[in-house]
Point group: C2
Chain length 336, copies 2
């Protein structure tokens, strides 16, 4: 049963296990530094589908299918699937998962969705509400560009602070029993809005939320950054990661020795022209559900914090002059 620690953190005493996981990506991600970590690299950005949106759904379907196989179970065994994505009305999830016939809990956490869905899946298992759950999210560069910015054909210019939406999906199967990695604790974030309005600088909009959630977790648990092998943010990229470090330093917390960011890990920024790094739900999703879980399984990482951030805006809110509220959800995940 989950047990509240401090103001905002839940400790999961039954230690829900990640029984299976998978990450599938597009061509560009498959040319990056994590190429050999992914379960499938899709050279065709349409995945044989008629539209980029359908291709994104296909990514979710594929990631869940492989994760189920690796966990040794079938869709019929899964009691709840938690899923969301960036497309309007989350159609990446609904159309991607419709054929699985699993009770469906749709989430909206923007780029924090891998953390939010995995947190919910783990809390359900820990509390006894379920014995087997799944968490999945996705993004697709071409679908996101035309929805949030411009159609690719327009050839819009990107400022240096802009990030590159990852084409990819990550899925995890969470079970009451299994070999791990294990979800030990969860901190659900509050929205933080410091007034950033630049939709081409999401890292800056989301960094304050990450700082808040990480601080809250450390305070709740009475631990320090040095207690963890890695504090991994979702997709703050270069600009947001720098800001996160600055914000935490102001409160006397130095994470520089253990911090990394999925948006910095997934691409080679020198050679892949992605400006400030990767972004999108599929960024944290595909990095966590490949490289990071692999490292935990292999014992190269023992005890990490995974804190994915989301920018809770839309094109409409930005056009109406609103600032960008950020949110960050955190999970402590261990190898044993």
């Amino acid at each position: 049963m989950p047990n509240r620690v401090g103001q905002r953190t839940l400790q999961l005493h039954n230690r829900p296990a990640v029984a299976g996981y998978a990450a599938v990506v597009g061509q560009k991600e498959g040319e990056g530094p994590l190429a050999d970590q992914f379960d499938r690299i899709n050279e065709d950005s349409l995945l044989g589908e008629a539209s980029f949106e359908r291709a994104e759904s296909a990514l979710q379907k594929m990631a869940v299918g492989i994760a189920l196989e690796k966990a040794g179970c079938t869709a019929g065994d899964v009691q709840y699937i938690f899923a969301g994505d960036l497309l309007n009305q989350c159609i990446g999830s609904s159309f991607g998962l419709r054929d699985y016939n699993i009770p469906f809990i749709g989430l909206y956490g923007a780029c924090s969705t891998m953390a939010l869905s995995l947190a919910m899946a783990a809390i359900f298992v820990d509390s006894g509400a379920a014995t087997l759950t799944a968490a999945v999210t996705s993004s697709h560069f071409c679908a996101a560009e035309r929805q949030f910015r411009f159609p690719l054909e327009y050839g819009g210019q990107r400022p240096p602070t802009a990030q590159w939406t990852v084409t990819g999906a990550g899925a995890a199967i969470v079970a009451a029993q299994g070999g791990g990695p294990f979800v030990q604790a969860v901190t659900v974030g509050k929205m933080v809005d410091l007034g950033v309005k630049d939709a081409n600088n999401m890292g800056a909009a989301m960094a304050p939320a990450a700082a808040q959630t990480i601080e809250d977790f450390l305070q709740d648990t009475g631990t320090a950054p040095a207690d963890y092998d890695l504090i991994l943010t979702g997709d703050l990229g270069e600009v947001g990661s720098g800001l996160l470090m600055e914000l935490l330093e102001k409160d006397g917390i130095d994470i520089s020795g253990v911090h990394n960011d999925c948006g910095l890990l997934i691409f080679d920024r020198e050679n892949q022209d992605v400006h400030a790094g990767g972004s999108g739900c599929g960024c944290a999703g595909s990095v966590l559900c490949s490289y990071i879980f692999n490292q935990l399984r292999e014992g190269k990482l023992q005890n990490i914090l995974f804190c994915a951030t989301g920018a809770l805006m839309s094109t409409t809110s930005s056009q109406q002059g609103e600032s960008i509220p950020g949110v960050a959800h955190l999970l402590q995940i261990t190898a044993r």
Copy 2:
């Protein structure tokens, strides 16, 4: 702690209580049959805001504020808020709730969101993950029309199967202790897609999901429609309600004596020109969190099933020729 009953139903043995609730609506809803049930009727469709989207956020903020007051608690007491809406990237919720500073779990369930959010809020309390949670959702006619159909100025014609998006929000505060109503059980729905493609006939798209979830619940619990005072669907409207009845009759289940629908309750279809009835997240939200909870508090209802449905499509998926997956989530709610 939640306990699984049958294939898909969770019984909540600690009986989470709805400690406070509120419904706020627009002018048209305030001219309907439930006028005296609502906490606030806003004559100004903009609520003094600069846009319809901001007005929708204001509805959520207002509903949560009143519900907190009625529950005798403050935002600082609430450990998690579960919220979602129909606007792209759920900005009704993010901008509406950002100032409350409550850990935020964004959901996407389309018009099923009142059921989904209340279910999650209740499961969290029942499992011990929280002692005080909140659930809220909203919709706004003018924001929905321009996002999903046409700007109002266009003067688009509506077919008889079309429904009228409710301008309103419903909020509920769920507590481990309190006077009730009480959430007794939850069935989370699977997506059901029978191939309906007409975005002007949402009732038909969603009815199969409602039928599936109601059947599953009755089977899991070994109960019959006559065991309940009311089986209330979210917003199937006239067309969808008829289809639901037909679908259940085929399997030998007759709910005609106890069925009603929020979309039929909220408007006077004879005199308010709403065609097949009300719809939108705010429809089920504002009817449940006013009239229905009032009836339960007053003992006029004792034992009900609330089953809200959602159509998990977007304008993009419809323009790409996709059919409309439906989903329905169900709660058993009792007076004592």
